[in-house]
Symmetry: C2
Subunit: 166 residues, 2 copies
DNA sequence: AGTGAGAATAGGAATTATTCCAATGAAAGT
DNA sequence: ACTTTCATTGGAATAATTCCTATTCTCACT
């Protein structure tokens, strides 16, 4: 094995002159263990189960720290709360507009390379963001049926798209 | 000429059963005349010069209407106010992290086509968003000089990246 | 072990961006 | 003209985040 999360986190923090704290470790652990691109509030709720005394402000602080260390990426695809993603591979995001969920999408290396070439001369790249906004396609026979019984709330029981291992 | 803004706007609105109002026309006009991806507040300030009685809520309403009609795109590349873009071509955005400005970037058709292929089966695409976050690259001799005199505010006097005609 | 400096956390206040709401105004259909 | 619908306004309300301050923690040094 190359690195466990604890070591990685500790080293990255140390590299920026920062300390490894239980709060930072828990926040990072939560992001790693459930990769559903949670918001700060989501993370807060999950961490609180393990450390009830943690505050929301601290969660925001920890997330900012992790983002600054480069261990976590902040995802903003829409107005609304930022979401956090510990997947460091260059990848795209799929936003399911019906369920609100966000999935990682594999980005082939050659395509990524072509994207990099679009950056105008004179700029130094910080990040590329590629976001797909989409909704589950309704199969044809269901679409016909639905047109007779409209107005019900859209469920979220589509098969999940392929997630990348990360 | 194919269409003037007034006619286009009027037709699009009518197509959704909506009315052409002075406020909507001014908001749209402001977006068309200065394509620097202004925020709602920016638009408000500009429109106010022409129609001092307009309210911020109306600007938000008009922008939402224009987005829903498909005449304007809402751009969210970072936490902070949404920005609005009347460029309907499929294009990318370059976010200059130093100046905060956003520029349109041409997206070659074949590349756009390849991006579309990434969408997993079972989803129907609403929009693809491709964002470059970057900062002006400091030329080498300047970088050396700057390292002796640090701490000054970064200016924003780089040559602008190629903008697409739209 | 004791102390001081610098980090980090917690809790709450403050800010920002946006949305909601109720009243008024304008336009279109009858 | 009269009614209905749509749009605008201004202000209140909300959501997400940031800011501020006191307290706590950790580390380095004695």
């Amino acid at each position: 094995m190359v690195s466990d999360p604890h070591t990685t986190l500790s080293q990255r923090l140390a590299g920026s002159g920062l300390r490894l704290t239980p709060q930072r470790e828990l926040v990072y652990g939560v992001l790693l263990s459930q990769r559903d691109h949670p918001s700060a509030e989501d993370v807060f709720a999950r961490v609180k189960g393990q450390l009830p005394s943690i505050s929301l402000a601290t969660v925001y602080n920890c997330l900012e720290t992790l983002v600054n260390c480069g261990l976590v990426k902040q995802v903003n695809m829409e107005r609304g709360p930022s979401r956090y993603c510990p997947n460091l591979h260059e990848h795209a995001h799929l936003h399911d507009e019906i369920s609100g969920r966000v999935f990682d999408l594999e980005l082939p290396a050659d395509l990524a390379a072509r994207l990099h070439l679009l950056l105008p001369a004179g700029y130094s790249l910080s990040a590329i963001e590629l976001n797909f906004h989409a909704r589950p396609a309704v199969p044809l026979q269901e679409a016909a049926a639905a047109s007779h019984a409209e107005g019900q709330e859209a469920g979220a029981e589509k098969p999940a798209p392929t997630q990348i291992a990360s």
